[in-house]
Symmetry: C2
DNA sequence: CGGTTACTTGATGCATATCAAAGAGGGTGG
DNA sequence: CCACCCTCTTTGATATGCATCAAGTAACCG
């Protein structure tokens, strides 16, 4: 794969400054990451650790079971976290977008793989150095803890979804969550961009490609959403939310 | 409910000392909790915050959506964390045992309820005071972070289980996890004690009571486990682990 | 324009849910 | 100590939501 490691200065985010110690200070993704908790002085220190990497669609960013030597901030693009069973079954553990962090909670090994869903840029920190640098920095520790807590809450919600939600509820909740995540990144919540394919969605929601496809078709037929070109418009947010919450579908009217 | 709040000195763990500032120092569960990260001086400070509570089977320890004012260490018994949908479906998010902590990751509200599965004793700390007391204590922060990370890893594993495992794999993994948890608490991994009923297991594994029952019957018939009296003996650990890992069941021999 | 990949749609099957009822304890009062 | 009731568990019969199998169709790309 044509994945490259840059010593700063290359990617768009860092390009403007040119000076290495400004890389983090001028980073446009900073407000979305744990880095935002750091003071200006800490940021220039941090810049010395930052190492940019780009990956093209399909590239493996992290191998399953690889030693967890680094922590990654995603500054552009989207990834999936994934695990594969011996018999070929796949589970997608989550999707990561600009501003998300990968590897914060890892112990000594990454327990899941991470793969680029499109052109991706990550900002990579050597785990050991990063932790050593800010071992005593209370606001860094606090920020990291809050991020892990948020991940935990999301994982618990997803557990409930996978354990007790029906297919249509899962898809509705998935779309709502994506819209919300997009908003959190400072984008309009609609239209939703779907950088992942049906198979990834299926493996994330514990369903199959076909069920995803049928369910989306149904949501579209019921005029709750409209799709096209890797994007989804939420037409009826209230209706979608009601479905996500377990409301029965309106009985299928024959005429239309 | 006859649940009581004690100002220290009452429960067995703290009773021996009598002096309040020794409560945490003499606590027999300390080695399993985040408290273990604290120095002796910090522990006597912590003792001033500790407040014991006992709950009888079925009692609600935490209401769903209640403000997250406190953090709880479980020093005796077992709880379930639970959420109920409008239509009555229940999901059990997890089980907690002696040494586990509740509420560490909560934001402002507890997102799930917690209920006693048997006679339970918890050690309760006012969240605000606890966090203020150790805001600058690096090893406390570190311990808390590691605990939340461990919870996150467990939640991610459970997500995979709920998304892609079949019923028999789920049950096998559940039993193995319980045995492991028991070992971590310093008990023999077998026999496994099951303080929860079939319904709780079902709601935790995303199945129904009946499926749990049938699956357990099957495991017993295949001589992988034996049960009785709320306990499970693992007879064939390797066989159970293989099943958990997706091995096909041996074809059912007609004769027996 | 042909080949490739991703998505959709339809027919059928199966694992698990649901419905129903029969045991198995386990505590309580007579 | 037994009879009764209550709750939990097991077992059986049937139903169903989603998976699987199998074509088609659309989007994409060299």
């Amino acid at each position: 794969m044509s994945d490259q490691v840059h010593r700063v200065n290359r990617p768009a985010d860092a390009a403007r400054g040119g000076r290495r110690d400004l890389a983090c200070l001028t980073c446009t993704a900073r407000g979305m990451t744990f880095c935002d908790a750091l003071a200006a002085g800490d940021l220039s220190q941090l810049s010395g650790l930052a190492e940019f990497q780009t990956f093209s669609r399909g590239a493996v960013v992290i191998d399953e079971q690889a030693p967890a030597k680094a922590i990654y901030n995603i500054t552009r693009g989207a990834l999936r976290r994934v695990t594969t069973f011996a018999d070929g079954r796949q589970a997608v553990v989550g999707f990561l977008f600009r501003g998300d962090t990968l590897g914060l909670d890892s112990d000594c090994r990454h327990r899941f793989g991470a793969e680029a869903l499109c052109e991706v840029t990550v900002c990579r920190f050597q785990r050991r150095k990063l932790e050593a640098m800010f071992a005593e920095t209370v606001c860094y520790q606090e920020a990291v803890r809050q991020r892990i807590s948020a991940d935990l809450r999301a994982a618990e919600d997803h557990m409930v979804l996978l354990g007790r939600r029906r297919a249509i509820e899962r898809v509705a909740l998935f779309l709502i969550a994506l819209a919300e995540k997009q908003r959190a990144r400072g984008r309009p919540p609609s239209p939703i961009r779907l950088p992942m394919g049906r198979e990834d969605i299926a493996d994330y929601l514990g369903l199959t490609i076909e069920t995803i496809s049928r369910t989306v078709t149904r949501l579209r037929a019921d005029r709750l959403i409209s799709c096209g070109n890797g994007q989804v418009m939420i037409i009826d947010p209230a209706g979608l939310a009601a479905l996500a919450d377990g409301a029965d579908m309106a009985p299928e009217v024959s005429g239309r």
